[in-house]
């Protein structure tokens, strides 16, 4: 079950269309037109609306998203006419700044030419583009890249001027990185402190102008070793904007390094920001030492998340909390090359099935079975998705949901990136333990 093309147990991602819709639905005033049967958009939106910390729907996403709703008739005779009609009526009814036709498996299989149909609507008044996002082309992470590639590398014109203070942030996939908004806002806050202007695109404070200004950026920062890289490479080809790929920084040590990296790259000074942020972080963190240490809250840790999150999580609990990381399960489907790009400070396993992960834990770390002298892995903390809740319960472990699917917690602007995020993660990890007291 490790091959990319194999069947998957409880997929921790959906399809390319899902990732594209999740990205589009979190961009300001960008309107999707879903060229599939009527259910795809609703099903896929609901999986993040109710499965990613209850993200919900926005301006024209979720159940409000326009869709061609193809039926047997279109499957047999082609869906081109229906798509053309839907584009016209969407223009008439829905107020947007950019319309994106996203295809699904059935309309790609019958050979509908979405790009060709869209080109008939390019009158310059209503901006529209088509992206090819059939489910069989890849998972949600691919869909995020395909949608953004369409916007930045096909739709937006080449930059006329360069803004040396402007950076774009990529790599966090809305919904499939459940804390994308809080994380982006913290990164934005810190980079603004360095003196930069920041396009995060997916947070409520952003506008459509953040999209249109993106080609002028001096640097693209990809907060993932995998996702957003291809996008950034094509971005560099089209707009000559260089990029830097780095791990999502969680907690002070990682964030110090992140700020130094960016500052160095752009010729800025980071130390005063780092000093001030550490003052604040440790102002809180220091006081936590009483409960943390008197409560003897040292744990073995197992993390289960996508490649963007799993490694920074393991690093945080190891470096900042002094916990012992036993396993880091990376759950997104990666190529050999992508796997090679990941940091191996903590050993990584590329396993995604719930049952498989549980089996691997039991295999590598047997339970004591009542023996008096047995060096087992208690106390254990599993930091993963809601799917790991049962696995944790079976091992008597603590559990916190941080990765998709996360439907046993509610998320608004919370994030784990940066200094503030490090405090939040610590607060949530320990809060789980405190919450059972009565």
């Amino acid at each position: 079950m490790s091959d990319f093309s194999d069947f998957i147990e409880s997929p921790r991602s959906a399809c390319a269309l899902a990732g594209a819709l999740s990205a589009i639905g979190n961009l300001p005033e960008v309107i999707p037109i879903i060229h599939t049967s009527l259910g795809c958009g609703g099903n896929l939106a609901n999986s993040v609306a109710f499965g990613a910390g209850y993200l919900g729907g926005g301006y024209c996403s979720g159940g409000a998203a326009p869709s061609t709703g193809v039926t047997e008739t279109e499957i047999v005779f082609g869906g081109g006419d229906r798509l053309a009609e839907q584009i016209s009526s969407t223009f008439e009814l829905i107020d947007g700044k950019l319309y994106i036709v996203a295809t699904g498996c059935m309309t790609e299989m019958i050979g509908d030419d979405a790009a060709g149909i869209v080109s008939n609507f390019r009158d310059g008044v209503k901006p529209i583009l088509a992206v090819s996002t059939p489910s069989f082309k890849g998972d949600s992470y691919h869909g995020y890249e395909i949608a953004l590639d369409g916007i930045f590398n096909h739709y937006l014109p080449r930059a006329k001027a360069n803004n040396p203070k402007l950076v774009n942030i990529f790599g966090l996939v809305p919904g499939y990185d459940p804390f994308f908004r809080g994380d982006l806002e913290e990164i934005e806050r810190l980079l603004i402190a360095l003196g930069l202007e920041v396009n995060t695109f997916f947070t409520p404070g952003q506008t459509f102008e953040n999209l249109t200004s993106a080609p002028a950026a001096a640097l693209n920062i990809v907060l993932s070793r995998v996702w957003g890289l291809e996008l950034a490479e094509r971005f560099a080809e089209r707009h000559a904007t260089p990029y830097i790929a780095t791990d999502l920084p969680i907690g002070p040590e990682a964030t110090d390094g992140f700020l130094r990296l960016i500052a160095q790259r752009l010729g800025l000074e980071a130390e005063s920001v780092i000093e001030r942020e550490n003052e604040v972080f440790y102002g809180y963190f220091e006081r936590c030492a009483d409960a943390f240490c008197d409560g003897d809250l040292k744990f073995y840790a197992i993390t289960v998340a996508n490649s963007t999150y799993a490694i920074p999580l393991s690093r945080f609990v190891s470096r900042e909390l002094g916990w012992i990381v036993l396993d880091t399960f990376v759950t997104d489907k990666l190529t050999a090359e992508q796997k090679a790009a990941l940091d191996r400070e903590h050993p990584i396993q590329f396993v995604a099935g719930v049952q498989e992960i549980a089996r691997a834990i039991n295999r590598d770390h047997p339970k004591g079975g009542g023996q008096r002298y047995f060096d087992d892995i208690t106390p254990l903390y599993i930091i993963g998705s809601t799917l790991e809740k049962r696995t944790a319960a079976a091992r008597g472990a603590r559990h916190l949901s941080v990765s998709f699917p996360a439907y046993d917690r509610f998320i608004t602007d919370r994030g784990y990136a940066g200094y503030r995020g490090g405090l939040h993660l610590f607060e949530d990890l320990i809060g789980q333990i405190m919450s059972v007291k009565s």
């Binding site: 069947f7 269309l17 599939t36 729907g57 039926t71």
Partner: protein, 506 residues
Amino acid sequence: MMSYYEQSAPPPRDSRLKIGDSYAGNARGLVDCGRDGCLLQKGRGFWQTNACQMMLSLMMAVTVENSLIVIHAPGGCGAMLHPLSAQAAKGKGRRGKTPAAPPWLSTNLTEADVIGGGERKLRETIEYADREFRPEIIFVVVTCAPSIIGDDAEEVVRQTRSAVNADVVSLHCPGFGSRVVASAYDAFYHGILRGLELTPKPWVDSRPRPGGGPATELAEKKYQSRKSRTVNVWNATSIGADDEDEVKRLLSALGLSARFFAEYSSRDELRQVSEAALNVSMCNVHDDYILKYLDEKFSAPYVIAGMPIGFRHTRQWLLRVAERFGLEKEAAALADDEEKLARKAIAPFVAQTRGKSVLICGGVVRVGAEATTLAELGFKILGIRAYHYDDGAEPIYADLAENLPDAPVAVSNQLFELTHQIKSLKPDLVISHNGTQGYIAKLGVPAIQLFSPDGAFFGYTGLYRILRRIVFELKNTSYRDRLSQRVRLPYRQSYFEGDAFKYIKN
């Protein structure tokens, strides 16, 4: 009907019944349009995404005990199962069963599979699922992609049946097969009736055997006597445990023993389906497909008599069940008694809600029953919005045409039309289907759920709770009032100046 049951895949409801999802007018017009077929011709020039029959098929399958779902699809279909399985686990717990979420697997069809076929992968997935999880039932959900490439999923299912421990049940429910989500009921029941045994198995299920002497003879008589008072009541995702409890309570009061199928049942329980005197529907558009099958197969009679919502519909539903047992007088007395108690209980709520205007939106039978119920209690019905319409709903709409001839009736599951109606009709309250509540809140209008698996809506308990919930909602609407001031809608203002249903085509 029998010819349908013999096919490997069920007919989409569109080819079995006169059906539609786009209409605006009134109840009489809808009944006529359904009869003469004009409904079939209708569609829209603008659509918003919704749900599909695969999603509802999954919602039903995920409730079945000790089952596992294999979705034969690319990786996205079924993503909704994450939050759905949590709800199903809760539903199991509520019915005294282990609150476990069933495992599910996707065959994860890739480009190569779409070209080369996914049958091998399907077989491997079923075999792995059986080996690894040891379920009693494996549901194989056949979606759009394999249906288009022509995978013979049925042949794979047939072959694996002999190779795996589990019973393998195929659910053919490609989303493009029908825009009408309710088609899933047929898809689900088709799978159940073809893939599972619905009658006791000799030597497995305990049953008195003939020829065993006086003791067995007595046991057999007892068994038959019990069976003659046992009714199967057919549930659905929209019908929660509290509603089942209410129905059970009322049928028990008539001396009948009620069992609920097929959601939240196990394989063993489903083998008892044939061992009942009567099959009873709780909604005209849910289960006629399987009830007619059981009639043809086991000569088991059935009753389809609307939905037991409100005094009049509940009484009628009870009487229709009771008359099969010669218990009409008892049922009428029971209804009299229950109504007396309930009327007293709801009186304070009725006083507070009299004259309130309401827009009702959701499943075709429920919205019709709810509308007449609330109208009888003094509400003003501003509009009725049914998610779809088919022949099965005709009795409800004939009743509606008689009782609320002027109420606007639309067949629509579309949010933009709902938004227009709310803005133009300005109801005091919206009663609406799950999945719309957030959107309604953003319009600043008080609203309650039309149904919820966690609430009670049926019979006398349900009516009390509906009214109590309405009064509760109206006690404080500040959240919506404030939220709506800051929400921008995606629809252009010009749309709200014209007809809500301008995109419906004939």
